[in-house]
């Protein structure tokens, strides 16, 4: 794991005191919204567009601690777990099979609300493949649930007035089904 990072280190711009950084894999330091400080491996951190842009755009030195005010420490732990695994498996032969196995395990331990929080974080950190994965997991969870369950889970408030809702129903009666009504 350290060798690719070392290669990356020699191509990417220098940061901090020259020379010493060439031997060790580079680390990027971030601080979460709840005040915890995390050291990320450069190759994992660069999977997150938000972090990548922050450092790359203005050539900011890796010594700067990047604030991630919208991310909680438990969320970052999960994100690091997923991205590290993804980077590890990326170039392997059984990539899809092993990733699927990891994804199944990853989702098992999480409640629907947790998944929702992570989708927010994935969007904020701009990690496309992680966002796709979390959204798919959420979709798979709610696809067999009724509309009221989804309302509660997402905490969505109904901003339709009675008239507006009735009008929507008449416009699309085929979408508002009633199980005990027969349609012929």
């Amino acid at each position: 794991m350290s060798t690719p990072a070392e290669n990356e280190a020699s191509i990417k711009q220098e940061s901090g005191p020259s020379g010493t950084v060439q031997d060790k894999p580079k680390k990027i330091v971030v601080r979460t919204g709840d005040g915890e400080v995390f050291e990320l491996k450069e190759e994992v951190a660069m999977e997150m567009e938000t972090i990548k842009t922050f450092f790359m755009e203005d050539n900011i030195s890796y010594e700067t601690v990047m604030p991630l005010t919208n991310v909680d420490s438990w969320e970052l732990v999960k994100v690091i777990e997923y991205c590290s695994k993804y980077v590890e498996l990326k170039n392997k032969e059984n990539f899809h099979k092993e990733l699927k196995a990891f994804q199944d395990e990853f989702v098992k331990s999480m409640s629907p609300k947790t998944l929702l929080s992570l989708s927010n974080v994935a969007n904020y950190l701009e990690i496309k493949y992680f966002l796709d994965f979390i959204c798919q997991a959420i979709a798979d969870h709610i696809k067999s649930k009724d509309v009221e369950y989804v309302r509660e889970l997402f905490g969505v408030e109904n901003d339709f007035t009675e008239e507006e809702y009735e009008m929507a129903k008449t416009e699309a009666p085929w979408a508002h089904e009633n199980l005990d009504k027969d349609l012929y």
């Binding site: 709840d34 409640s111 927010n120 966002l131 796709d132 959204c135 509309v147 109904n158 012929y184």
Partner: protein
């Protein structure tokens, strides 16, 4: 900090889940469920009339309403609602869309009925007018589930090609449980972008019809057939762009794959007690993988050209003619048959043979592939092509066909009995198959087909 099934202390305000995220989630739901969920609030309504990827799945719909598969009456009622939604959503889209492209349409039914024909056909036409790229339809009806052995083709959806003839951007077409019969009018330039074609439980009137459609697919790379029925049992493909060909559990008697310049993988697996008269592949110089299993009998297998890294697995009880030409001597062959006639077609010219010192070892290891055959017949025009010379036999002690009980050699002009050529050939054959009855016979010359 505890992570897992417990709620974490600092829950972000989920009311502010960005539109991008909720839109993404909605678009990953089966379309019927997504449309219903979109009524949660005004900003969830979003872009329901321009979702680029649609997924109408009756199985998901039944699960969503917790319907058990054995309660037939409830399933029928739900099917009516499903069709009602399909019709309504199509009209809704036609009315409200801004002609945005529709990339993917997936329509999987469990309770397809004849009355659904027009709704489905209208959807196909609409989707293709919106630049459809991927089409995946599976129209299982109650009856097709019950009679697995003999599909009731009468009840299948009869796909009208005209409905999808406008889909010039179609790259992937997957059809399951449909029939495509009206093929006598083939449209010019039907599917110019089609790369993937997958047919499962599809009925086609004749092989020529399928061939004429495939001719209109100049970019096709992957073709797979499974449990298909082709009326005259002929399968003919001539697509130089084809890379991957798979035929499983289809009743076919005559298979021909011509101009297989780019073909890399060929799989043919058939049911128990199956027979196949002819299987010919030509110009298959890139073919690296073969997997064939025809249970009872394979009449003729001809491979004209293959890649030098070819790995082939061939299995049948009896193979009447097994012919390989050009480059097969380097192939890794796994051959399982009780009885087979093998044509060693590599060397037709004397010059090639005398200058190639690696021929004999390669011939021996090639013959070894047939070690599990009880009866082996070798054929070649030239005696020398089948002779393993004494100096080589001395070097190796392992005969290639130790348990073969009959070894026949057929040559159009066999050497005269007692001549040096004859004795060398006989010694060579006895060495190749020490337990076998060895016979050298005159046979008619095999046509040199090219």
């Amino acid at each position: 900090m505890a992570i897992g099934t417990m709620k974490s202390p600092h829950m972000p305000d989920l009311h502010n889940l960005p539109d991008l995220v909720t839109d993404k989630i909605l678009q990953l739901l089966p379309t019927k469920a997504a449309f219903q969920v979109s009524f949660l609030s005004k900003n969830w309504q979003g872009v329901v009339s321009s979702w680029p990827s649609l997924n109408f799945d009756e199985d998901d719909d039944f699960d969503r309403h917790h319907l058990k598969r054995h309660s037939h009456y409830q399933l029928q009622l739900q099917h009516i609602r499903f069709i009602y939604f399909l019709k309504g959503y199509l009209d809704y889209r036609k009315k409200n869309d801004q002609k945005e492209p529709l990339d993917k349409l997936r329509l999987h039914m469990r309770m397809y009925e004849h009355q659904d024909f027009s709704t489905i056909t209208k959807w196909l036409k609409y989707a293709c007018q919106r630049g459809l790229k991927e089409l995946d339809i599976s129209l299982v009806s109650v009856d097709s589930e019950r009679l697995v052995e003999i599909y009731p083709y009468n009840y299948f959806y009869n796909l009208p090609l005209v409905a999808i003839a406008t889909a010039k951007s179609l790259t992937s077409l997957k059809l399951e449980f449909v029939k495509v019969l009206k093929l006598w009018q083939v449209y010019e330039g039907l599917f110019p972008s089609l790369k993937i074609l997958s047919l499962k439980a599809v009925r086609v009137a004749t092989g020529q019809h399928l061939y004429s459609v495939l001719c209109q697919c100049p970019s096709i790379e992957s073709l797979s057939l499974s449990n298909c029925s082709i009326g005259n049992l002929k399968f003919y493909v001539c697509c130089s762009s084809l890379k991957y060909l798979e035929v499983k559990s289809c009743l076919l008697n005559d298979i021909r794959v011509d101009h297989a310049f780019n073909l890399e993988s060929f799989t043919y697996l058939s049911q128990p007690y199956s027979e196949c008269g002819k299987m010919i592949l030509t110009n298959a110089f890139n073919l690296k993988y073969i997997n064939i299993s025809v249970d009872k009998y394979l009449g003729e297998f001809s491979l004209w050209g293959c890649h030098n890294t070819l790995e082939a697995s061939i299995k049948s009880k009896r193979i009447h003619r097994f012919k390989l030409f050009y480059g097969y001597l380097n192939a890794k062959l796994s051959f399982k048959a009780d009885q087979a006639t093998i044509l060693v077609g590599e060397l037709w010219s004397q010059e090639q043979f005398s200058s190639d010192s690696t021929y004999v070892p390669r011939l021996v290891s090639f013959i070894k592939s047939f070690s599990r055959c009880k009866e082996v017949r070798l054929y070649n025009k030239k005696v020398q092509a089948l002779t393993v010379f004494k100096n080589y036999r001395k070097m190796t002690s392992l005969p290639p066909l130790p348990v073969t009980s009959t070894l026949l050699v057929g040559i159009p002009n066999p050497p005269v009995v007692g001549s040096r050529d004859f004795i060398e050939l006989e010694d060579s054959l006895r060495w190749i198959a020490p337990s076998a009855k060895v016979l050298i016979m005159q046979v008619d010359a095999e046509e040199d087909r090219k």
